[in-house]
Amino acid sequence: MQLVLEKRAERSNTIALVSPLIAIGLTIVTMTILFAILGKNPLLALHAYFVAPLTDGYSLQEIAVKATPLVMIAIGLSLCYLANAWNIGAEGQFLIGAVAGSWVAVKTQGTDAGAWVLPAMLVLAAAAGALYALIPAICKVKFGASEILTSLMLVYVADLFLDYLVRGPWRDPHGFNFPTTAEFDPVATVPLLIEGGRLHLGSIIALLVVAVAAILLGRTIKGFEIRVVGAAPRAARFGGFNANQLIILTFAVSGALAGLAGIIEVAGPVGHLQPGISPGYGFTAIIVAFLGRLNPLGILIAGLFLALTFIGGEQAQIAMKIPLDVTKVFQGILLFYVLACDSLILYRFKVVFPNRQVARGTH
């Protein structure tokens, strides 16, 4: 008896709907086993991860704050992945956006610059993120260099550049030699939505991005082109769609969104530029994009769910001394299960009994 994969005649819409749920379920089962191996009470740990953060207002706001960059980056990445362009350097575009926007904040610090500062920061960050993403895109289109490798290499470069700035020219002179800029002025800060709370304007921007992406993909020719180029490249060529142009476009858009997310994170929850502003948002957003089935609304839900794991992981670390790396393991396992379950949309398992005679070709 043998288990083999067989292509379905048609994609299964039922599985397409339930597969993220199956994946989450399987991940939770796996995590239960992992917690038990670590010698922690699995029920308490799962409670700390998935229930406790939902029970108080502060944590709920914190989930929305963490989901903001994840959703914004993942929306951009989903456009790339739909068009079969592999931008995996969103982390670098996020950091470059943060740097470019911070430049305005640092240069206007202590001056009487007006309300134009924050909008200028946002625009500059998006532009810088887009330009940074265009490097791998152009290398791909003009020279055929793998965008996967070049976009990833640029993450390390961006990280080192940010490190140089906050240790060198931009370091806060009153910061006791810590590698950080001074706190941004109020005009260079993303306003809070609730006085004294955590929720900020960035979350609204993220929701707008989701809405625009939903319209772009569902209702416009460009969105249709993106989906066709990814799903059926041959058909797209016959249709006269320009795949290279779409690689440039999707990379630029996703870079801009990652850059925007970067400056919103720095000018919002963090308040200044420093190394380690991202706990890997650019990479976690890849999981968000896939868990959300590359669909804007799905990405919104997936972003909130992964933000929950970040907050839950922090709480589990405080309450039960569960290492923070468990969160990364969790996210990795989740992506595996999502991909595996997605495979069942196109394929099904079939049990075959290998027949010796058939194998000899005498049937």
Binding site: L5, W86, A145, V329, Y347
Partner: protein, 305 residues
């Protein structure tokens, strides 16, 4: 004179993990599978390798742990990408994300611990020859093994029937299948070989390069190894040149920092990554007359029945 010798030794040490990991990935890719999870397999290999060596006091056991860890990681990849026909790019990314988390979890208890690093060969007389003595006769076992490995892979790929079949799977899996070769099984072995090499390359870092483990110590070497395979046009000979060139860039930027050239250290540290981008662009550009990549690289194969 001594400085030159020291630099050559350092270049060899820095190149060895790149060479081992890239050799494994080369075999994987020649069978038609693109495993982007090299970084993840390496970092888990580093954590498990250090754990093994620390627990038993033996570098050999550490290396073995690294190999086993890398192989197990690659089996997860094989199950997904070959067994379930999942997109190989996405699966490889998932493997890297999982590997970074796992290595942090495994290695957490070992941060701050030290081990005695791998011993270097010493042959009285030969090792004492100035300039080339220590380079040729004074390395640790990993360096010699990496050279033997790439020669062995060259011989396997181009001089054996099995190597020919493996390359056939990478160039046209439909034909290979039609000829009756078990494409998925051959690819699984190739993926496992890549995983074993990546695990060993990762283990090299805490066992021989630095005698301790720090989270994230692979620092993108797995990705550079992937770029090296492209650089080498999927040929073992060029892989050796590429690996040593990249090792040299790494070491030269470190020395330049030491000499205080006046360039901020972060810019020098960025050099290997920038070099990778530039090399990828130049090479891809030079290759106008058709790609040298295995024709079926990265494509899903589900056998018809």
């Amino acid at each position: 004179m001594e400085l030159i010798e020291a630099i050559i030794l350092a270049v060899l040490a820095a190149s060895t993990p790149l060479l081992i990991a890239a050799t494994g990935e080369l075999v994987t890719e020649r069978s038609g599978v693109l495993n982007l999870g090299v970084e993840g397999m390496m970092i888990v290999g580093a954590a498990c390798g250090f754990a093994g060596a620390w627990l038993t006091g033996s570098i050999l056991v550490g290396a073995f742990f690294g190999i086993v860890a890398g192989t197990l990681m690659s089996l997860v990849f094989a199950l997904m990408a070959l067994g379930l026909a999942v997109n190989q790019v996405a699966t490889g990314l998932a493997l890297t994300i999982l590997g970074i988390g796992l290595s942090g979890l495994i290695g957490a208890g070992f941060v701050g611990e030290r081990i005695t690093p791998a011993v270097h060969l010493y042959i009285p007389g030969l090792t004492d020859i100035p300039l080339i003595g220590r380079v040729l006769f004074g390395e640790d076992g990993f360096v010699y093994f990496s050279v033997a490995l790439i020669v062995g892979v060259w011989w396997f790929l181009y001089r054996t029937r099995a190597g020919l079949i493996l390359r056939a799977c990478g160039d046209n899996h439909v034909s290979a299948h039609a000829l009756g070769y078990p494409v998925l099984r051959i690819r699984t072995f190739a993926v496992m070989f890549g995983g074993a090499c990546a695990g060993l390359a990762g283990a090299y870092l805490p066992l021989a390069y630095t005698p301790f483990f720090i989270p994230g110590m692979t620092a993108g070497r797995g990705w550079i190894a992937l770029a090296l395979v492209v650089f080498a046009s999927w040929r073992p000979g060029r892989l050796v040149i590429g690996a040593y060139l990249f090792g040299a860039v790494t070491i030269l930027q470190l020395h330049a920092q030491g000499w205080g050239v006046g360039i901020p250290s972060q810019f020098m540290s960025a050099l290997p990554y920038l070099a990778t981008v530039i090399v990828l662009v130049l090479l891809s550009r030079a290759r106008t007359g058709g790609s040298t990549a295995p024709a079926a690289l990265g494509t899903v194969f589900v056998p018809d029945r």
